[in-house]
């Protein structure tokens, strides 16, 4: 394959990965309405934002 063919493949992969990352971050920013956890217990589903956050 010519060098420009490889360039198109690499740029295409980068664009796809960037799109996936932006989509994932948009999903993680999506909000919800959380009922406070019961007293004396901790919540599950810990992610970067901490426990109790929606995905």
């Amino acid at each position: 394959m010519e060098w420009w063919g490889w360039l198109i493949v690499v740029v295409g992969v980068i664009v796809i990965l960037l799109g996936l990352f932006i989509g994932l971050q948009a999903r993680r920013r999506r909000g919800g309405v959380i009922v406070g956890p019961a007293s004396g217990t901790s919540t599950t589903g810990v992610d970067d934002a901490g426990p109790g956050s929606t995905p």
């Binding site: 959380i34 956890p37 109790g52 929606t54």
Partner: protein, 191 residues
């Protein structure tokens, strides 16, 4: 006001800095009071933030932005959750949960939550759920507002409401506050 109008609203300091956006609304089951917000960063590449904003730190909840004094108002995520921790809470998201009456009737699925902001008392209370009605309400698939008692019960699967709430169901926010007041007055009268 619906909580969907609050999520994604920018958090702006009094210096004019756009520092975050609202992600989740956190409320206590016991008393239905909003304790604060979890936050997400601004911009395409941002994800959820590790800090959260307690309701006490909110300067004002404006139509287009949540105003705060400065970024120093942010606090650890867990402390905001702990402040809203009460008996009867689940720690989960109520959107998508089923609403069940104490008589065992499934009224529908929660699609939004209605809050009432009192600027004088600087409080924000959960007063109702917007549900997609089930067959039990004879208007299956339509969106209805259902008033809530002052004390809520919520597990990860079901949100419990008194059966009499069916008699106070509304279709739009205009007049819903009066329905909630009448519903709560009836509960107190019957208690």
């Amino acid at each position: 006001m619906r909580t969907s109008e609050i999520t994604k609203r920018p958090v702006v300091t009094h210096q004019g800095e756009d520092v975050a956006q609202v992600k989740d609304i956190v409320f206590a089951a016991n008393g239905g009071r909003v304790g604060g917000f979890t936050l997400a960063g601004r911009g395409l590449f941002s994800g959820p933030k590790k800090e959260a904003l307690s309701w006490e730190s909110v300067g004002s909840l404006g139509a287009d932005a949540v105003m705060i004094e400065s970024e120093a108002a942010f606090e650890p995520h867990q402390s905001v959750l702990d402040r809203s921790a009460r008996s009867g809470g689940s720690g989960g998201d109520v959107l998508g949960s089923k609403v069940l009456t104490d008589a065992g009737t499934d009224l529908g699925v929660v699609v939004d939550v209605v809050v009432e902001v009192d600027d004088d008392a600087h409080t924000c209370d959960v007063i109702g759920y917007e549900i997609e009605a089930s067959e039990a309400l004879e208007t299956k698939g339509t969106r209805l507002l259902i008033p809530l008692p002052a004390t809520l019960s919520a597990s990860k699967e079901f949100l419990m409401v008194p059966d009499s709430a069916r008699n106070f169901v509304g279709r739009d926010l205009a007049g819903f506050g009066a329905s909630v007041a009448a519903f709560r007055a009836q509960l107190e009268g019957g208690a």
